[in-house]
Amino acid sequence: MRSYLAVALGGLVGTGLRLACDLAFPHADDAFPVETLVVNLAGALALGWLVGGLWTRPSTPMWLKAGIGPGLLGSFTTLSAVTAALVVLGREGEWLTAVAYLLVSVLGGLAAAAAGLRIGSLIAHRPMPTEVTDAGETL
């Protein structure tokens, strides 16, 4: 139940952030949707980072993962805006823009997710700092 509440709250925030980006960088229905692209790539990078890093720690509570993952980042990013934009671009005969948008979204999204997973994993699993206090009895 707590997870569902966290997803709902995360959904509010993620949708709000995407709406803010939409309003700050509006685009016509038949133009290259730069804002959606940036939102989706940033969301994929951030989720990869968390899944590869913080999420791997057993101490991370389930509700926090749900609230930020499927909640905030899940609703911040969108697939329906991509597919719907492709349909409108196709109807307008903007095939080159449609193909470019599709390729950049898919390849960019996968690359961002892969980079995020690797960066998160590197940071989470870096060696323990050597300056750990040691009174000598463990040596």
Partner: protein, 126 residues
Amino acid sequence: MTGALSPLVVAAVLVAGAVGAVLRYALSRALPVRPGHLPGGILIVNVVGSAVAGALIGLAERAALDGDLRLVLVTGFCGGLTTFSTWSVETIELVDGGRWRAAALNVVMTLVLGIAAAAGGYLLVS
């Protein structure tokens, strides 16, 4: 894009997005992904959300749906229901696990079914 949005419309967009997110989470919990297999729940919400968004944009173009309502349902509900981040991260996790076929299937099915659904929804109301 129309002029200033009323706070009520903004609130409605956010709530619609939260409802979409909760539905997506509920479905992904109801259809847990077996390790190394296609994330079916996310595929379903992405295809359904694409169909609904296509139909609503078609209606909006025919002036059968006003701008505020379009924002609530398309940007809010469909945007919250569908997700790009989970899809891309789960695809890379399949690749990292050596499940190339499942990863390729996740990409191809999401794109082909998602675009077909959006086009289908759009054409249905035209």
